[in-house]
Symmetry: C2
Subunit: 270 residues, 2 copies
């Protein structure tokens, strides 16, 4: 789960996301719309008799905040909670599991803020089924090929790995950048993502105000998408001053062709 | 505002309660359903450019909690916030304004918890309009009578105050008792309230579990209402294990005749 605003459990219930499937929570920063739902979610985990551990990644101060809630009696944890406080100044690998690697993205906002880059782990090469037939591969030879090796046979015969295996699909990547000003230092860090979520709090005619408040415009989000060669851009975090959010999409489309609006309940397949 | 659960602003908006009318918040205890909406509400006050002061009354630890949020950057207050930490062991007058006096009610729950008794301030006596005619009262004499004095005229004539003024309506009182076990020590403190809100988390067949968890049953709430001569009882804080909450009303009605269920959006006139 990425960020955890007040009332997030209402949405989890509404869209039938099982809370029990959440094992990691990534908090970008401590403003309420990204963070004030965390105490309630932890309470719900307690009430649901969760026993497996929960990992929360967030800015420095997270331990103090959770500790204060425990101290004043808001909850007593009955499951293991691992809190990882993040360095806001560098990009570093913070989490790895069997499917994904997560790195931080230093963002520039009014308070220490971290974006997150989710990248699939490298997959092993797959055996080309036609090659099994063609080269009459044995089980040990198939195993060898899956591990990336060439197949060596008696005499001098060598079957190169590339002739019997298929290149795995490219690793998919999703970058989450909220909240942040327009920052070209992000471009290299998020190069070539399949989906880039970038905040767009204002339209570009309010660029000065955006920067002063630590935010970006829809046009700026689109420029970051273009420069970083994202495949698709997801815009969000719209100021409530705009009643019709289609204006964000229109502004971004002038710069970058493949855009969508992040709206409650929408699902995007990567 | 009494207590401040997560998402309370959704209800304030839904029922068109103006946030700007809130000048005092009374927090009974630090469990999430009574408290986790406070940071978001404070943030909204900031965003709405509130300048008038807000007073929050709550358990010891409230200053530390608000201080932690300021320290980690969740908000920087741009209006004056007065935090009053309460002694959970005694009943004391904590707030007075032109209309109401608020006292604490020590409750027995799993963590330090305080109920609140709201009582109208004593009103001045009202002039009986028929007496003005009858005694031909002058403006200074009316003023004197309103202040509670008898009217003295030349010679020995004394018009007693009770002959020219009306006894004001009795002071209305509302007691809020959540969360608490069944506790007869409350009876004297809340004697004769017009409306008593008392928690009823369980039905009486779960009395043991109620007590173990620091809660009361509907029957127990009704007994407290009866013993304290409340005019009306409001039941609330129902466990989600009960799908049909009318069972609480039925159980309480066996003991006390004038009961209602506290449900979202209902208004009760005192």
């Amino acid at each position: 789960m990425i960020d955890c605003g007040e009332g997030c459990q209402i949405r989890l219930n509404q869209y039938k996301v099982k809370k029990s499937k959440i094992d990691e929570i990534f908090i970008s920063h401590f403003h309420g719309d990204h963070f004030f739902g965390l105490p309630g979610l932890i309470t719900s985990f307690n009430l649901s008799s969760r026993t497996k551990s929960l990992r929360i990644y967030g800015p420095i101060g997270l331990k103090k905040f959770i500790g204060t809630l425990e101290e004043i009696g808001s909850f007593y944890l009955n499951f293991p909670l691992e809190i990882h406080e993040l360095n806001p100044d560098i990009s570093e690998l913070i989490h790895k599991d069997e499917n994904v690697e997560v790195s931080t993205l230093p963002l520039k906002h009014r308070i220490p803020t971290t974006g997150f880059l989710f990248r699939e782990k490298e997959k092993p090469r797959k055996i080309d089924s036609t090659a099994i037939e063609k080269f009459k591969l044995s089980i040990p030879e198939i195993k060898q090929a899956k591990e990336g090796g060439d197949v060596l046979r008696h005499g001098d015969q060598r079957i190169p790995n590339v002739d019997i295996t298929l290149t795995p699909k490219p690793r998919r990547a999703y970058a989450y950048c909220s909240d942040t000003i327009y920052d070209e230092e992000l471009v290299d860090l998020i190069s070539g993502t399949d989906l880039l979520y970038h905040e767009a709090t204002y339209l570009h005619d309010m660029q000065d105000q955006a920067r002063a408040r630590g935010h970006a415009t829809a046009r700026e989000a689109a420029i970051i998408a273009k420069k970083s060669h994202a495949k698709r851009l997801l815009l969000g975090h719209f100021s409530s001053r705009y009643k019709d959010v289609s204006v964000f999409l229109n502004e971004a489309l002038e710069v970058f062709p493949n855009c969508d609006l992040a709206q409650d309940g929408k699902t995007f397949k990567i």
